[in-house]
């Protein structure tokens, strides 16, 4: 039983980071119908930028996180303006490819500055692991999980009550109507990218904390997020949250129970098997809107 609980707890914590990154993905998709395959790279860049603030510039932790957020916003605005704006109206393949190209550039930039070795990541949540119903939980896990929940709560308040949040929802619902109501759709696209980048880099910082080290493989989270958003529904923030937790738990259980039989790798492939199954049964996911097409 402790074995099962351990797997679930680890899965939930890692899943909460998936959920965070998936929310960034969904935000951009909702706002501008762009599928951002570079989401994982944003996360990786965030972790490394935070690391440089902490280690090279010796910033205290809150200042370093703030600096990383500012950096993320600037990077997202630049990317949106220079690369994604010209792609409006282009076929989906082109949009997918341009974000894949962007992913390549971001990876290369990080690698040329930091190299390929794993770098130790200073831990914010320190202290001994504590036990929770027979499961050892480290402060980094517990802290990250709580922080993700708080962040999600703040985001949903933002969308519900703030003016910009309401405007973003309106844009996602119908761009024509939003335009006629005096909402600057361009600015909403930029805002979506900025928020998406911010939640991704925060995810990167949490992952760095949980693992105690960062390397280029952080970017793979970007691919993990795809089953998450398909499960939850491409245009549903709540779906991203539920999907993230489910995928996190599922892959851990697959790893724990199937790996001994198949000889490893079940953890990595399980989310993609799930992805195929969902696409066959319910392509718009648990909470997504079904698209109806007319000629």
């Amino acid at each position: 039983m402790a074995f099962f609980l351990n797997l679930v707890v680890t899965g939930v914590v890692v899943g909460s980071v998936y959920a965070l990154v998936a929310m960034g993905f969904v935000l951009i998709f909702k706002a501008s119908r762009v599928v951002n395959f570079a989401q994982g790279e944003f996360l990786m860049v965030g972790a490394y930028v935070c690391l440089s603030f902490l280690v090279w510039l010796a910033f205290p932790y809150p200042a370093a996180v703030l600096g990383t957020l500012v950096f993320a916003v600037l990077l997202a605005l630049l990317v949106e303006r220079v690369i994604l704006r010209p792609m409006i109206g282009e076929p989906i393949l082109s949009v997918v490819m341009v974000t894949l190209g962007l992913a390549s550039v971001l990876r290369a930039a990080v690698q040329s500055v930091y190299g390929t070795d794993i770098r130790a990541f200073p831990e914010f949540f320190t202290g001994e692991p504590f036990r929770l119903g027979g499961v050892a939980v480290t402060p980094a896990y517990a802290g990250s999980f709580v922080a993700v929940l708080v962040l999600m709560g703040l985001l949903s308040l933002f969308f519900k009550y703030s003016k910009a949040g309401v405007a973003m929802r309106a844009t996602a619902f119908d761009q024509q109507v939003a335009l006629s109501m005096g909402i600057s759709v361009k600015r909403m696209f930029a805002l979506a990218w900025a928020i998406a980048a911010m939640v991704s880099v925060v995810g990167g910082i949490f992952l760095g904390n949980m693992r105690g080290g960062v390397d280029g493989s952080l970017a793979f989270i970007g691919l993990k997020v795809i089953p998450v958003v398909i499960l939850g529904g491409l245009d549903s923030l709540a779906g991203a949250f539920v999907g993230g937790l489910l995928v996190g738990v599922l892959e851990n259980l697959a790893g724990g129970y199937l790996d001994p039989y198949v000889g490893g790798g079940a953890k990595e492939v399980a989310p993609f098997v799930l992805l195929i199954l969902i696409l066959m049964v319910r392509p718009y996911g648990l909470f997504g809107t079904e698209e109806i097409e007319r000629v």
Binding site: I83, I92, M97, G101, R107, A109, T116, I230, F272, M280
Partner: protein
């Protein structure tokens, strides 16, 4: 002294669907092939290796272009289909079968797998299909790594020499000729495909699938066919890759290979056979060129080696972005523009 008319006049269906628009093109193609056939006599082993890799890329890229450029179905699973072909080809060769069996066999195996993963294409399109094929890639990769008795797992397998009725393709040059012949056949077949009913159905599906169905094109059959033909090409390319490399492992087929192939057809030109060829050559040459230049520049090994690796990736990414933003129709469009310019020169208006 040109006798070509100042424009592109086609007055019959026959002339519109010709493979070569003008005798000049036919002669140029023949000359190019002659040159390629003679090249191994003078080339170094590295150059033969490079030309072989271009040939393999051409086969794979033409295949992907049939699916993506002509039929409009996105696939991120091309590396997986390539792997299926490579392992099938290698295993069949190990049984002592000649290339006339192993290469079509590899193609058929890849086509079968491709069609299985193409089934979701009936319900899915665009984005969702991209994600389904991405999942296909990871599932194929998992099977390849885990099925150790057939694939050798992460250690890979050593590929036997290809044979044809007693003749052994036991040198790089001989393998190159094999690749060259198949690449020519592959290109001609693709070129011809779009003069047929099937090819036109593909284009109709790409342009508007629902309208195509209304016009009487069975969507499911043709979408699956597009997946099958495209994966067949990938399988054939994979089998050649196995013979060319001599050793294949799952590391030959990472997801980046699928992205590379997509980049080839985008940079070359979607829906253009010529574009696939240009894109394949370009995307194979650029990394090697970068490596040579960077190695020459970085005297102080190994401090700069990380930079070299990242430089390749950065240039790759920038090229994709650059082409998509500034030349979405690719090199083939650029080539047409240049041709049109010279056709009318100096009186372009």
């Amino acid at each position: 002294m040109t006798t070509a008319r100042c424009g592109d006049f086609r007055v019959s269906y026959e002339s519109d669907s010709r493979i070569f628009a003008s005798p000049v093109g036919r002669v140029a193609c023949a000359l190019f092939l002659l040159l390629a056939a003679l090249a191994p006599l003078a080339a170094s082993s590295y150059q033969i290796d490079l030309m072989s890799r271009i040939g393999i890329a051409v086969i794979g890229a033409v295949g992907l272009n049939i699916l993506t450029g002509f039929a409009g179905q996105i696939s991120l699973g091309h590396a997986g289909f390539l792997a299926v072909g490579a392992y099938t080809g290698a295993r069949l060769t190990a049984l002592g079968l000649p290339v006339v069996v192993t290469i079509p066999g590899a193609g058929l195996a890849a086509a079968a797998v491709g069609m299985v993963f193409g089934i979701p294409s009936l319900r899915l399109k665009g984005l969702y299909l991209a994600m389904a094929t991405l999942a296909a890639h990871f599932i194929i990769e998992f099977v390849v790594i885990r099925w150790r008795s057939v694939t050798g797992g992460t250690d890979g397998i050593v590929v036997d020499t290809a044979t044809l009725f007693g003749f052994e393709f036991d040198s790089a040059a001989k393998v190159f000729y094999l690749i060259l012949v198949i690449a020519v056949v592959a290109v001609l077949f693709a070129r011809n495909l779009f003069r047929t009913r099937v090819g036109r159905a593909f284009v109709a599906i790409r342009d508007r699938d629902i309208s195509a169905e209304v016009m009487g094109i069975p969507l499911f059959r043709y979408k699956l066919l597009a997946f099958g033909v495209s994966s067949f090409y990938a399988g054939v390319a994979g089998a050649h890759l196995a013979h060319q490399a001599g050793i294949i492992t799952p590391e030959n087929f990472p997801i980046t290979v699928a992205i590379d192939y997509l980049a080839m057809i985008i940079i070359g030109g979607l829906g253009s056979v010529l574009g696939s060829v240009l894109g394949a050559a370009f995307m194979t040459l650029v990394p090697d060129l970068l490596r040579i230049v960077a190695t020459a520049l970085s005297g102080s090994f190994p401090a700069l080696i990380g930079l070299i690796v990242s430089l390749r990736e950065a240039v790759f990414g920038l090229l994709i972005i650059f082409f998509l933003v500034f030349e979405p129709d690719g090199m083939a469009a650029r080539w047409r523009t240049i041709k049109a310019y010279w056709k009318l020169w100096p009186f372009s208006y």
